[in-house]
């Protein structure tokens, strides 16, 4: 049995392309067929967003980024259509725009408890599909409990900022690597794939790494 190929993924919870890219990567990994080990890393797209931002992503884009409501609506409609094409039912009208630092801390907490991938998926679905809040500790603890993590311990860890340094270390590493946007995939520590690319791109990259490893044995 060959060693799994390591894939490091920088991603934010409120990044629509990250969820779409996750599905495309998963399809590519399935197409590849070999063993793959995934680790998610934190990337904060909008660290200055208040936890209780009063408005939808459309409000956010128009109020804070100067994008007209019509243009913002058009952008979100396009993303929603593309999400649908990979089986994701985005509900932008229900989305709670927020600060994601606590969600990232929770993903690190889950990693420490062997549940990172489940937590990442639950948080993305909570944000884009279920209209759940992913910025407040109590809401995050509910989501953690849904995948079987200890709710009270999650509240404690998030209240004490136990994994904040780990989040900031991921962000610093992304900066060091010159990662400007997400999702960003690093295959076997040497190949970079930026954005929500086609499944075939991921499958080809994984196959390339497998072949290169086989060639040096």
């Amino acid at each position: 049995v060959s060693e799994p190929i390591k894939v490091d993924i920088w991603s934010d919870v409120q990044c629509p392309w990250c969820y779409i890219g996750k599905r495309k990567f998963e399809a590519g990994a399935e197409q590849f067929g070999g063993a793959v080990e995934v680790e998610y890393h934190s990337f904060e797209l909008a660290p200055d967003t208040p936890v209780d931002f009063d408005g939808t992503p459309m409000d956010y884009l128009s109020q804070r980024k100067g994008i007209s409501p019509e243009q913002a609506e058009q952008m979100l409609a396009r993303v929603t259509g593309i999400a649908e094409s990979v089986g994701l039912d985005y509900h932008y009208d229900d989305v709670h725009q927020t600060n994601t630092v606590k969600a990232h801390e929770l993903i690190h907490y889950a990693k420490a408890h062997g549940r990172q991938l489940d937590m990442k998926e639950r948080l993305l679905k909570a944000y884009f599909v279920d209209g759940r809040h992913v910025g407040r500790i109590e809401d995050l603890a509910d989501l953690a409990a849904e995948i079987g993590l200890d709710r009270a311990d999650v509240v404690r860890a998030l209240s004490e900022n136990e994994y904040l340094a780990a989040v900031k270390a991921d962000v610093a590493l992304a900066n060091e690597y010159g990662i400007q946007g997400v999702p960003f995939f690093v295959i076997d520590g040497k190949y970079g794939i930026s954005g929500a690319q086609d499944a075939q791109t991921f499958a080809d990259a994984l196959a390339q790494v497998r072949d290169e490893k086989a060639a040096v044995k």
Binding site: L45, A46, T49, K65, I179, Q180, G192, G195
Partner: protein, 35 residues
Amino acid sequence: MTDVAPSPFTMLGDQAAAVCVDDVCVIPEHIPHGE
């Protein structure tokens, strides 16, 4: 887009793929709606 470190990685695939940068998500024109 300034003072960005060069990537230590060999980049693969389409460099104009869909990404989110600075809380704005870029939608490349070549991705048709709903495809």
